[in-house]
């Protein structure tokens, strides 16, 4: 009888969990991808991070006691990323590739997920002023990294990060007028991937990877 009840509970938990992942998985994976700084096409590390966080949520499912599983997963994801942050220091060509892991974490929690400043500070164990300062700095870096309307080639702050200087595929994605946002994402992915692989392998392969990432992110 105990066995039967346990089997019923396992089945219900599995069904609820599957429905939860089907609903919230896409958004969580996007958040994880922003954290790891990977381009949209290659999300291996983000998937690993999200799987670990989701597994913890599954293990806790029966004892959530009314807590939102999305909140729990997001908190676990942030904690796991903060714990393993040093692994994601190398830029990989995502939207936030030019930020440090801590700046990415604060930016994703504050702006993408809309978590309050106090809660972000409590989750990361930082003072509120520090969170505000990191967020402001990250916003400044992101805005300076994004091209102004129409002009993709010239970047106003090429000297802030050394990776922004050598970009073989800065002008690859065609951004004409109304498609400024997608053009910006494409340029960001192109520069990040080009610089990252260029340091390891050489100029020829760097240029190839850069154009590939840029073309993938542009549509």
């Amino acid at each position: 009888m105990v066995r039967k009840r346990r089997a019923a509970r396992d089945g219900r938990r599995a069904r609820e969990f599957e429905a939860f992942v089907a609903g919230a998985g896409g958004r969580l994976l996007h958040a994880a991808t922003l954290l790891t700084g990977e381009p949209t096409g290659d999300t291996e590390a983000a998937e690993r991070l999200l799987t670990a966080a989701l597994a913890r949520t599954y293990a806790r499912w029966d004892r959530l006691r009314g807590e939102d599983p999305y909140d729990h997963t997001r908190r676990t994801l942030a904690a796991l990323f903060a714990h393993r942050g040093h692994r994601y220091r190398r830029p990989r060509g995502g939207t936030l590739a030019r930020l440090t892991p801590q700046e990415r974490l604060v930016l994703v929690l504050r702006l993408y997920e809309g978590v309050a400043e106090e809660q972000t500070a409590a989750a990361l164990g930082l003072p509120v002023e520090r969170v505000r300062a990191i967020c402001t700095r990250a916003v400044t870096v992101m805005r300076s990294a994004a091209p102004r309307r129409g002009t993709t080639g010239t970047r106003p702050s090429a000297g802030t990060r050394p990776s922004a200087g050598t970009s073989p595929s800065a002008g690859t994605p065609p951004s004409t007028g109304g498609r400024a946002a997608t053009g910006a994402a494409g340029a960001g992915a192109g520069t990040g991937a080009g610089a990252g692989t260029g340091t390891g392998a050489g100029t020829g392969t760097g240029a190839g990877a850069g154009t590939g990432a840029g073309a993938g992110a542009a549509p």
């Binding site: 599995a14 969990f17 949209t40 999200l50 989701l54 949520t57 946002a181 997608t182 992110a217």
Partner: protein, 84 residues
């Protein structure tokens, strides 16, 4: 609204880029890993309870044999008082 809000909205729009596709087996993998984690926790909890039970039984047996609450028999080693 104010100046910083406009900046944040701009970055927010940047963050809402193209979403990556969710792999279909991710939920299954996570559930399987969570199930193993749960199982591990249950095993650890069971072992802990068994250890506690064993400790209680051992203490009971020792107490029943030694009977540490029983007072020692009175001794007669006190020197006799004489010559008052």
């Amino acid at each position: 609204m104010s100046f910083p809000d406009r900046k944040e909205t701009e970055v927010r729009r940047m963050l809402e880029g193209p979403h990556p596709a969710l792999p279909p087996d991710l939920a299954g993998r996570a559930a399987e890993r969570g199930r193993r984690m749960l199982h591990r926790h249950q095993v650890a909890r069971t072992i802990g309870w068994l250890l506690l039970l064993a400790a209680v039984v051992a203490f009971g047996v020792w107490a029943a044999i030694v009977e540490p609450w029983a007072a020692p028999p009175p001794t007669d080693t006190t020197p006799p008082l004489e010559g008052w």
